[in-house]
């Protein structure tokens, strides 16, 4: 289990669980759509920690976003405790 801090929220992710799945299970309204790494609706910024990419983020995120540490919540499995920021999260 890894601890995730997302904006003002804190929740846990099980081993092998995506950030999106863990956030939704914790009752957080984490914006998402395709859940296949193809639309970028679930994007958020990785401020600390490490994730495993299930698909290549570069299909939908541009150079600038990749450099800023933007990741796709639906395609990221935590490899450590994480600190995240999602700009469209209420």
């Amino acid at each position: 289990m890894f601890k995730i801090e997302l904006n003002q929220y804190q929740f846990m992710a099980h081993k092998g669980e995506t950030i999106l799945h863990a956030a939704l299970s914790a009752g957080i309204d984490f914006a998402h759509s395709c859940q296949a790494g193809a639309c970028a609706t679930c994007q958020c910024q990785l401020k600390a920690g490490e994730v495993r990419e299930l698909t290549d983020f570069a299909f939908v995120l541009d150079d600038e976003q990749l450099a800023e540490g933007i990741i796709l919540g639906c395609q990221s499995i935590p490899k450590s405790n994480l600190s995240l920021f999602k700009s469209d999260l209420k």
Partner: protein
Amino acid sequence: MLFHYLKFSLFYLLSVLTIIALLAGEDWIALSYLAVSVFIIAGDAWFGEDTSAPVYKHPHIFTAQLFAALPLLCVLMFVGTWSVSATDTLGFGHWFYTLSGWDINQNKAATSDWQHGIAVFYVGLMVSMIGTVTAHELVHRTWYRPSVFIGRWLLAFSFDSSFSIEHVYGHHNYVAHSHDPATAPRGRNVYQHIVLSTLAGNKSAWRIEGQRLKRRQQPIWSWHNQILRGVAMSLSLLGLSFWLGGVAGLLFFIGCGLWAKALLEIVNYMEHYGLVRAEGEPVLPRHSWNTNKKMSSWAMFNLSRHSHHHAQGHIPFHQLQAMPHAPVMPTGYLGTICLTLLPPLWFKIMAKKLHDWDNNFASESERRLLQRLK
């Protein structure tokens, strides 16, 4: 419940029938092709719809079934290339004779060129059903690499591994927009669509993959390029078919692959023909033509439940809902394919359906968009 697991095995039955027909040769090929087509088309017409949505406790059975499509397709294509080769490739006929007492070499010698020609269309249809349909399901599971890997190999049989890129990262984002290669505008006939969608789809895949490589600072002309890897996969299959069946085997393989690719584009055509989506509108069930006909759904892993598939592309086929209130295509898949091949009839049937769509499904902004497109 057992039945609900078994119903998706229909394509095994059809594949085995095709393999037996190829081994029997002569008129058995055409008869079997006819029987399979009538079985699916008439079955859709007679047996109606399957709108059930059971909860499956063992979905891994379906994953194993999807993966099994690859060895099955290999066997089918081996038998196909053997059936047209001038020699008894790898002594297969002789081995089969000692095993079963059935002289398939004699059957092969008695099969005429035009009977082999029919086999190309028959096997092409099966490449489409065993290969493309299962691959479509597999390449959607982007988060599971073995699934995408097998899906891309299945697509390589119809020279279309780049579908794994264009379909997921292109078509599913653009569906029903005018710039979506796979959505046919009103008035375009299916023959135009096969060519235009193939060209535009490949161009779109190249653009998406090129952009990805640039962002990763990897060279376009390198092994990192998934499109080039896909081309290499198809070329290796062509090389194998030549080695197994000589020039005849190679031509047979090319013919089957091209027909399977054409069928994919025909299916794209009928799944979204004439539908529009206003900029900024989410993809909803109304942006695809749906059908719940039994044979089509069972033989094609619920590809027919297309409205839900597009609204939620990540949902595995066994969880797709029937969406009885979505717009409905004229009949089951194979029946509708036949209708598209007769453009005047197709346009007549679809004019009514589109009129209904415009009045009862389209949003206000989509109606305005349709006015502008007139």
